[in-house]
Amino acid sequence: MSLLKTTGICKSFGGLAAISNLSMEVHEQEILALIGPNGAGKTTLLNLITNFTTPDSGSIILAGQDIAGLARHKIVKLGIARTFQSLTVFENLSVSDNITIGHSSQVESSLLDMLNIVAYLRGKKEHRHGLREKIAEVMAFVGLDAGLAKEPVHVLAMIDKKRVAIASALASGPSLLLLDEPLAGLNQSEAQELLGLIRKAKGAGIAVLLIDHNLEAVMSIAERVLVLNFGELIKTGTPEEIIRSKRVSEVYLGK
């Protein structure tokens, strides 16, 4: 079943076509890898899906709705969460605050509701309790020690910061998680732990679209692989098919 489908999306920066006429699909609950040389347009595709960049043309359909150009917080609400290439977390805030922010799209957002003081005071305990449980649940899911909840993120190790980034993304309850180079800067065993986490997310019913340069790791985890080159989709297939593809090795290794 298709979860996300892009049809003919194009994006140029000045005269440079970053993405040209790209059509692809993400299936429900699959791990899909996006590979390609530097500058192939991988991150641009993620940015187009989450509207950090608006496409020049084409459509991006999520569960029957065109989300191209939709406000970012609405896209999150519809079920797409992402992390960034350079690790991005709220370094000065605590782990639990990071996850709380990730939970924003699930919270009653009208200020009037928030200012309804009687309801607030009455619901405060309940709401907080619910939130605390949610935080504990997400932290346990990504493998963060419960004792770290009140720690500011900047004191954590790299792998734990990455866990926080993924935990905040998961707190929005996504059906599709976009991970941009999650393995960068991790050693072999840490990378394995993170891959385990990605499999776990899939197990929880979440589709994962993964960009990474660690091809060995990507091939070991992905069910399908998309290969981009100069903004064009040159090959789609299972990892085995991609490894055997002459076109792909040409792109990576030259003729």
Binding site: F52, A81, S104, L115, I117, S168
Partner: protein, 314 residues
């Protein structure tokens, strides 16, 4: 927690009995300080918590002051209605202004507000038929009708208690706000806007709400200030005024509910001793800000936290 409540109780008690002992000029100064705390708390929400430094806040205060004064003078509206209307009008102004100015961030937002403050100041100064120009407007003292007692006119003592009741309500209200999800979201905006967005925060809505609340408190402070002083003139709402509010929240400690409280008292005490310097006192404020920014980023609240080894801020 119990100790915290004890401290709050003791402070409230002290405030209740101070007018019985303190000379009138001190009570007068404390009342003005109370108004400053209200305005600075609003600025702190915008600048300390959300990270948008407004250098034109005195301009917003002026909108509240002139609106309320004009409503009472020209339309015979009672002070209470006028003050509420003026606060709401200033909030509305902030909301509309936000559509344009919240597209800017960082230093550009600050420059935008600085220029806006200057524009507002020159309107107050030059639009003489309405604002009274540099002479300003005289505002009649408010009257309060109580059942059985009839009209009570507002003397210093009534003002003092009224203002500190408002301070209590405002700081309490802001605490609710900061503790709510709204508070987390505006802090997230300060830390990283695009990350907040990608995590589902509706940052445009939050930013304009925060600016509107900040403006509401500025307008309220302005209306109170005009009525308390019995006079409104442009010089209270110049860039120098804006700088004073910034100084208050920086000295007190940014993003701390008690920051404006400490900051306002320090600044008003300073201004007493520095009065001889006239406008040169701005130089001293500038030096203090530089000193605090370099050596004591947390301001007074941060300093107290270090001493008592305890977090006061949220």
């Amino acid at each position: 927690m119990t100790r915290g409540k004890l401290v709050i109780g003791a402070v409230l008690l002290a405030y209740a009995v101070i007018p019985a002992f303190a000379p009138e000029n001190i009570v007068h100064l404390m009342t003005i300080t109370g108004i400053w705390i209200i305005i600075a708390s609003g600025l702190n929400l915008l600048t300390g918590y959300m990270g948008y430094v407004s250098f034109g806040h005195a301009g917003f205060v002026g909108i509240g002051a002139y609106t309320s004064a004009l409503l009472t003078l020209k339309f015979g509206v009672s002070f209470w209605t006028a003050a509420l209307a003026a606060s709401l009008f200033t909030a509305l102004f902030g909301l509309l202004l936000g559509v344009a100015i919240l597209r800017l961030s960082g230093i550009y937002f600050s420059i935008g507000t600085l220029i806006l403050g200057e524009i507002l100041y020159s309107i107050y100064y030059n639009w003489s038929p309405v604002t009274g120009g540099f002479m300003g407007l005289n505002v009649p003292p408010p009257e309060l009708s109580l059942p059985l007692m009839g009209g009570v006119s507002f003397e210093l003592l009534q003002w003092y208690y009224f203002i500190y009741l408002l301070v209590f309500l405002v700081v309490g209200g802001l605490k609710l706000l900061i503790d709510s999800h709204f508070g987390k979201e505006i802090i997230a905006i300060r830390e990283n806007e695009s990350l907040s967005q990608s995590l589902g925060v509706n940052i445009n809505q939050r930013k304009s709400q925060c600016l509107a609340i900040s403006c509401f408190l500025a307008g309220m402070g302005g209306a109170l200030f005009g009525a308390f002083m019995g006079h409104v003139d442009p010089d209270s709402f110049s860039i120098a005024g804006s700088t004073e509010f910034i100084t208050i929240i920086i000295i007190g400690g940014l993003a701390s509910l008690m920051g404006p409280f400490f900051g306002a008292y320090v600044l008003i005490t300073l201004s007493l001793y520095l009065e001889v310097l006239g406008k040169w006192r701005m130089v001293v404020y500038g030096l203090i800000i530089v000193f605090v920014m370099i050596y004591a980023r947390g301001g007074i609240v941060g300093f107290l936290e270090t001493i008592f080894k305890r977090e006061f801020r949220k």
